[in-house]
Amino acid sequence: MKRSASLIIGAALVGVVVLACLVSLVWLPFDPNHVVPSARLASPGWPHLMGTDGLGLDIFSRVLAGSRICLLAGIIAVAIGAIIGVPLGVAGAATGGVWGQVIMRAADLVYAFPALLLAILLAAARGGGSVATAMVAIGIASVPAFIRIARGASLQVLSQDYVLAARAAGTTRARIAWSHVLPNIAPVVLVQSSVSFGLAILAEAALSYLGLSAPATTPAWGRMLYDAQPYLFSDPNLATWPGLAIAVAVLGFNLLGDGLRDVLDPTLREVR
């Protein structure tokens, strides 16, 4: 296997985020929602490693706990995107003709609704944003990229000689899709998953910044940035840590995707 610096750095950064999430599930230095008015706007130090915010909440605890919603967004986006997108992409490539066209047109149409717009629409329809509306929006928005990438890769596989031979021998389309296409497009889908994961984190951060995702009691990095905004001139420290956390997580998944692409197949292309 080829060595790839991107892969190593990316995996390390992703590992840090996952570790933060696991740690936050069993232990946090402070209750992330425990308001301590006397400890407002403390500087980084002891016992508040990253200081406290305008309400006296421990920033370190909230940054740790914020990794949960960040990873949740990514997992849901990739799950919805892959589960809906990959079969549609493979089907579009295998059937071709009118149905292939319809699937691609539909994918193009969904491209016109970025995650942010979908989330706003859902929030409007449901009477307010929630984790559910945000996750569904991010998930749906990630579908078209999976459709495109799966279709492109499937078309390539389907034009290979051994697939043509299998078809000539009377193997059904479904069987070919299952035993030839899916295993061969798996690397492409894996790379796209990593890219989509990063995009989902960015989208969730923007949504929670706008108050269209988790409620204020659920720690989320985007929300923390929003809460930090009144203090930007006096205490930029409040924005530094959640900002850094977002950058580390997104960088990690982007590099991981790049690294996987290097290692699995240098000719793969990403779709954003």
Binding site: P114, L116, L117, I120, R126, G198, A205, L232, A247, R269
Partner: protein, 321 residues
């Protein structure tokens, strides 16, 4: 002949997409629980008053009929009225659209100014450290959401250095210089992030093109390396880059919602957020429709740009015998 048929086809696809999208938006906002009458009358309204308002607003009609009525209104330039103030929505949207277009247009131009030369440079120096540096920098830029970039810029250039205003909008018509000063930070925060993404695509497009046989032909007839890229690479790379530019512009119009929030700009995004929070569904519906129409129009322009750039699409495959 062929060209006009292709253009008509693209235009038809645009209209159909817009219709389907508008239907989806309309159904989503009108079928899910929640009722505009509660917003107008408040939660303590009598059932009789609600029933009266419902029939007056045509809410008792089947939803498809209501869609057709709404669509007919839109076709006549009537996007509906705000559930709160009763003002015509179109009048509310137009001035905000000017703000958003200033923001997005400037941001996109700046992103291109940064990314096109940087991407070309990274492609030409793909094996040198300098080219790899551009790539690594772009990787960092891609990891930062635009609103975070905006916050950092405010901290540095508005809070610390006090060089530029931290927010607010001054119309171009009242003071062009102040308009410009107020938009610099928003533009830069959009451009840094979009530019970082764009750099990678521009580099990829040029690398692709530089590996093509026709580039080798160009060099074999005496073009120098850079000039060959300029003369024969640009148009071919543009085919790929135009797609990304279209996608980015579309993303920016929606992403502007967040940036307008950071810099307190009274644009379409701010209006949209306010109408969502206030449950002003007719206004939400109209703004979303405008945004989707903008995005689909950008896609249409990309398709047309293809036809202009690529003669293979324009002129069929008829072989000269």
């Amino acid at each position: 002949m062929r060209l006009s048929r292709l253009l008509l086809g693209r235009l038809a696809a645009f209209v159909v997409s817009l219709l389907v999208a508008s239907l989806a938006v309309f159904l989503l906002l009108n079928l899910l629980p929640g009722d505009v009458t509660a917003v107008i009358l408040g939660n303590n309204a009598t059932p009789a008053a609600v029933a009266h308002l419902r029939s007056a607003m045509g809410l008792d009609d089947p939803v498809l009929l209501r869609y057709v009525h709404w669509l007919a209104g839109v076709a006549h330039g009537n996007l509906g009225a705000s559930a709160f103030t009763g003002e015509p929505v179109a009048g509310l949207i137009v001035p905000k659209l000017a703000v958003t277009i200033s923001l997005v247009g400037g941001g996109m131009v700046l992103a291109m100014v940064l990314a096109l030369p940087a991407g070309l440079f990274a492609a030409l120096h793909r094996r040198q450290a300098s080219g790899q540096m551009v790539l690594a920098t772009s990787q960092l830029g891609m990891a930062v959401p635009a609103f975070l970039a905006g916050i950092v810029l405010v901290v540095v250039f508005a809070a610390r250095l006090r060089w530029l205003p931290a927010g607010n909008y001054v119309p171009l018509t009242s003071d062009p210089l102040d308009w410009f000063r107020h938009l610099i930070l928003p533009w830069v925060s959009l451009a840094l992030v979009q530019g970082a993404v764009l750099v990678r695509y521009v580099r990829g497009a040029f690398l692709d093109v530089m590996d093509q046989d026709y580039m080798r032909t160009a060099r074999s007839i005496g073009w120098r390396r850079r000039r060959a890229v300029w003369r024969h690479g640009l148009r071919n790379a543009a085919l790929q880059i135009v797609t990304v530019l279209g996608l980015q512009l579309a993303t920016l119009f929606v992403g502007a919602v967040v940036i307008e929030n950071v810099f307190v700009l009274p644009g379409l995004g701010s209006l949209l957020l306010r109408s969502v929070n206030g449950r002003d569904l007719p206004l939400v519906q109209a703004i979303v429709l405008v945004l989707v129409a903008l995005i689909l129009m950008i896609n249409l322009l990309v398709d047309v740009a293809y036809l202009v750039i690529d003669p293979r699409l324009r002129t069929g495959r008829a072989v000269v015998e």
